[in-house]
């Protein structure tokens, strides 16, 4: 029945391996597997331009979120503030290098690398150029993305603020708002980015005359 169809019209579900036909474009915005219900892909129009816009916004917020204090507090006349890099340094000096590394990976390194990789891809594409090494960048993105836990960190910030309130008066810093906004922009950016369409460009580039 399916034999003889062009391989491009076929999709295999990543979660159950079922072969199925790609639905007509604009048929549905979210395409799910007919057997197991996992999301095969989302229809994401203007992926390059929208990803670029969100990535630029996220970069500004990312810098602000890391350069400024998240929260400050005063106990009996002594005050202190903490930023994310400052908290990592403090953990490091408490002989918690592994924890500092894990927190740094999930809140700083992974989100930072995701931003850098996306900008590297979509900035030239926006001006009609294909940057070199697209497969490597897409593969790196795919493996680093699960390690970015900005949304969990944001919830952790809120809980620690409430806990700290029990000890003393706390003052939210600029970076707290920046993290909140970063979370929203990051979510929008992830939804706007469609690696499928970038892979498809490589396919056409290779089968075409040029590179």
């Amino acid at each position: 029945m399916i034999v003889g169809m062009a391989p491009r019209a076929l999709l295999a579900c990543p979660d159950c391996d079922l072969l199925q036909r790609e639905p007509e474009p604009a048929d549905r915005t979210v395409v799910t597997c007919a057997r197991c219900g996992s999301v095969l892909y989302r229809d994401t129009p203007d992926t390059v331009d929208r990803t670029l816009a969100f990535a630029l916004g996220a970069s500004v917020l990312f810098i602000v979120a890391n350069a400024f204090p998240i929260v400050g507090m005063t106990i009996e006349g002594r005050s202190n503030t903490v930023s994310l890099p400052g908290a990592l340094v403090a953990l490091w000096h408490q002989d918690m290098q592994l924890v500092a590394g894990l927190v740094g990976l999930t809140t700083l390194l992974a989100p930072g690398l995701v931003l850098a990789a996306l900008l590297y891809l979509v900035l030239p594409l926006h001006f009609g150029r294909q940057p070199p090494g697209v497969p490597l960048i897409l593969r790196t993105l795919d493996s680093i993305q699960p390690w970015g836990l900005v949304e969990v960190f944001m919830l952790g910030l809120l809980v620690s603020l409430v806990k700290l309130e029990m000890y003393a008066k706390v003052v939210p810093g600029v970076a707290l708002w920046a993290f909140g906004a970063l979370l929203l922009v990051f979510t929008a950016m992830a939804a706007a980015f469609d690696p499928r369409s970038l892979w498809a460009r490589i396919g056409t580039a290779r089968s075409g005359a040029g590179r």
Partner: protein, 210 residues
């Protein structure tokens, strides 16, 4: 739709894990790389079940010190207090913020354990080639992937508190050894979920259909 399900594997095709391109599987059974992106193609993740088991067992072992050792050490002129994850939850509860206590309890105790138990069940059911409720098991796997990341919550809470409250000798909060064990549990169970291949849930189905 009542016909036996045709999978890529049965059709002699391999889906590239990186770029999703379908390629013809090699007849000899040797390795093949993706013609579009160059990634090595595998019909299923290699040694999926063995790797999942190894990571799960390591995570179970570390789950014990993660819960027994202190997560947070508070020093003040009154002395030193050690807080485990559970006593941190109890403290939140006694200070009146039960929604917060519930949140931390879910994220730090329920979710990590539920994730390990779910993956154990999935790995066990796949190993004995069970055909029981594949849709249900697929849903369990998706839940594990979505919910699992939230177990990092307590590590972040300790990070902020230990970074901020460094006002010796008035008050100081340090991260305790449980933070290391707990972080390791989170990483190991993330890797275990990653090495589990959900397609193995569906593979035994065709054997009975045909």
């Amino acid at each position: 739709m009542s016909a036996p399900a045709l999978t890529a594997a049965r059709a002699g095709l391999i889906r590239c894990g990186d770029c999703e391109l379908l390629s013809r599987a090699p007849q000899s059974g040797g390795n093949l790389s993706c013609p579009r992106c160059g990634a090595t193609l595998h019909q299923r993740k290699p040694n999926s079940i063995q790797r999942t088991w190894a990571l799960l067992i390591a995570a179970y072992i570390l789950y014990i010190p993660a819960n027994l050792l202190p997560m947070m050490v508070t020093t003040s002129p009154q002395g030193t207090a050690n807080d485990t994850i559970m006593s941190g939850v109890v403290y939140l509860l006694s200070s009146g913020s039960w929604p917060l206590a519930l949140l931390v309890f879910l994220a730090s105790i329920t979710i990590p354990l539920a994730k390990l138990v779910s993956l154990t069940f999935l790995a066990w059911s796949v190993q004995r080639r069970s055909t029981w409720q594949p849709e249900h098991r697929a849903r369990i796997y998706r839940m594990v992937e979505i919910v699992g990341r939230w177990s990092m919550l307590d590590v972040y809470i300790v990070t902020i508190m230990a970074g901020l409250v460094q006002m010796q000798p008035l008050a100081a909060i340090d991260a305790g050894p449980a933070a290391i064990a707990f972080g390791a549990v989170v990483v190991l169970s993330l890797l275990a979920a990653n090495s589990f291949d959900p397609r193995l849930i569906w593979d035994p189905l065709g054997d009975h259909d045909d």
